[in-house]
């Protein structure tokens, strides 16, 4: 699809960001956990499709097609002497080998074998969830123990070190500074990414909406507003925080998984703090913290603005006498988003859509119900 500023890539980005900002809103808006390391949790999904994905796909391929795997290996040995199948798959020192393995052997095989592909997809989705839970547990270990500032600092530092140092410097984990080709699905990976991220965004929205208006949602707000009071009323703060962090880590990881389907070759730097942490923060602040619809509105507004900068980059660069159009496409939108976010904090601290009261069952209905069941003993214990 291509119409004016709306391209497939833009829509995939939009859907992914909706999921990410909704998940950040669950943490920061509802529960008050300042997650400044969101980009790591999105990257987790990409890692599942890249570093982990190619390894698992290669293993399945070798099991199902031992003959073809040997042939492929023989061909690749001429490029990379002394290569073994498993070392070639993540041969980041030789990106060409990785590209040939993924695009000439793995992809054609999995595209033509639906059952194997489904198996691979389910495995990788489970891997994404597992990795997200793992990193979420690490984050929650800190979140249960530290004050707000310390937690924000630690999460940012942890995410930056993982994305900028560990996954970028280590060639074997995720291709390091050369990047890896992600395992993509179906004949048309772009459409797969579009549908996947779209469905995920819808599920994330309705799930977050249900969660926020459930007793759990009210407990989350209570933890955010007054920990002591929440504890006095018998809420287990630790378990609430843990659950929220795990839920939003999984959502963010899945968003990253579908997002990377559209970006064939990428490094961990794709998931930097400006795009995947700061931007979602700006989105939920503009849209309104602790308001799921607000998170969606903020996402749409900022991504449209960013896309317009990109789309009219040549004209903008010309207008402001910038040296190259790419400056207008990359630097200006970031400055714009930063300025808008600070202005929002000042003029519209509640955001476009302020936090509303949580939806509960109408009191009249409860009365009607209880009066019809008047004969039965006792009212329902409120939770």
């Amino acid at each position: 699809m291509e119409w004016w500023i709306f391209s497939d890539a833009f829509l995939i980005t939009l859907f992914s960001f909706i999921t990410v900002s909704i998940s950040l809103n669950l943490e920061a808006g509802y529960t008050g956990i300042p997650n400044f390391g969101k980009h790591l949790f999105v990257f987790v999904g990409a890692f599942a499709a890249q570093g982990v994905g190619v390894r698992i796909a290669a293993l399945i391929y070798e099991k199902l097609q031992p003959q073809a795997a040997q042939e492929a290996l023989a061909q690749l040995r001429s490029m990379v002497p002394g290569a073994t199948w498993s070392s070639l798959v993540h041969a980041a020192a030789d990106v060409d080998a990785n590209r040939i393995v993924v695009n000439n052997y793995l992809r054609p095989f999995f595209v033509s074998h639906v059952a194997a592909e489904a198996l691979l997809l389910v495995t990788l989705l489970l891997v994404t969830v597992g990795l997200a839970l793992f990193f979420g547990l690490i984050a929650s270990y800190a979140a249960l123990r530290l004050r707000e500032e310390y937690l924000a600092i630690l999460l940012l530092s942890f995410a930056e070190l993982m994305v900028l140092v560990v996954f970028y410097q280590s060639q074997s984990l995720n291709g390091g500074n050369q990047g890896l080709w992600a395992i993509t699905f179906t004949k048309d990976p772009v459409r797969f990414a579009l549908v996947g991220s779209g469905v995920l965004a819808v599920i994330a929205y309705f799930y977050a909406d249900r969660l926020a208006n459930s007793p759990m949602g009210r407990a989350m707000r209570a933890v955010r507003d007054d920990e002591v009071a929440a504890e006095v009323f018998g809420r287990d703060i630790a378990s609430i925080r843990l659950k929220v962090i795990l839920i939003s880590s999984v959502l963010a990881g899945l968003a990253g998984f579908f997002f990377i389907q559209n970006a064939a070759l990428s490094t961990s730097l794709t998931f930097n703090r400006v795009i995947w942490t700061f931007l979602p923060w700006a989105m939920i602040i503009l849209g309104g913290m602790a308001n799921n619809l607000g998170a969606v509105v903020g996402t749409v507004v900022f991504l449209l603005a960013k896309r317009l900068f990109e789309y009219y980059q040549v004209q903008i660069a010309h207008l402001f006498h910038l040296g190259s159009a790419s400056i207008a496409a990359t630097l200006l939108p970031n400055i714009f988003i930063g300025v808008v976010m600070i202005l929002t904090l000042y003029f519209l601290p509640q955001g476009i859509l302020p936090e509303g009261p949580s939806r509960t069952v109408n009191f009249e209905e409860i009365l009607a119900e209880t009066s019809s069941e008047a004969g039965e003993a006792g009212g329902e214990e409120s939770k």
């Binding site: 500032e149 410097q169 200006l332």
Partner: protein, 340 residues
Amino acid sequence: MAIIPSLPYTLESIAYASALGLLSMGLSLTFATTRVANFAHADFAMVGSVVMLFLIDRFYYLHHGWGVFLTGSIVGGIFGGITGLLTYLIVLKPLADKGTSSLGLMIATFGIDIILMNLLTLILDTAHGVHIPKLIGASVSSYEPILSLRGYRVFGYTIVLPIAAVLLTVIFHLFLTRTKFGIAMRATIENPDLASVLGVNVNLVYMVSWFFSGFLAGVAGALMAFAFKGVDPAVSALIIVSVFAGSIVGGLESVYWGLIGGFLVGLVEKLGMTIINSIYRQYFVLHLGAPNVSLLNYEKLLSLGLVVIVLLYAPQGLAGVDWGRLARRLGLKKPVEGGG
């Protein structure tokens, strides 16, 4: 290959540690006064680096010796200080006056971090260099004096940075203890309400602390410009991690311990990782067949490890450690008679 690093490398590490000390000190200062965890602190340093790059580019003929350090650090420091002051006056003070929570202020500094980083990149991208053709990512290390010490080539900045750190700390200490305004500043850190009741202009104290914090960062950044492979504002993403590590190790609320914490983190990152790396190469790679990779790329992980250890065992940082008690427990000092 010896385990002990060479002399120039040791000096470079000490210089890096001194710069981190200055940065962590500034970060702790603004946190102690205004309770804002400043995520834009590394960008103040990048302002200093960019100023140094421009000075060298525009007035190259003026710089043929050690003078480049003096002019660069003073001008860079002033620019950094002004950036800090403007950050406080334009963004943080209006927000704080409106009653924004500390989380909101933290996010605002995150926004300033993004704005400054992109603005500096924009400036370097669009400005035309006079002596240096391409400013963004340009290396300035060929524009500094190089000494010859015991057969080693020693870069000038490695000597200047520790001296600057000591000098600035002494000046700051004298300012805090010997001037009336310095005493007012300490009073404000202790108890802002009481200080303002006693006639201290708390707002002025905050402004000065933000200026001074930016100044320290600017000086550190201007001198650090020679240590970078290339001046690129995106480097701030990694510097801030170490700066926060230094401040947390120091306790986040104590200025002097911030300096020590930053220095410690810098030393551990550079010297500690070199020693670990050479041990790894000599024993694990040679004898045990471990993968032949350089661990030096992962030096920042040590600072994160240090932070985790500090937060687990001494949540208040080094400032909260009861040193006398620790010394007694380790048997370094005699127990106080009669308990105490």
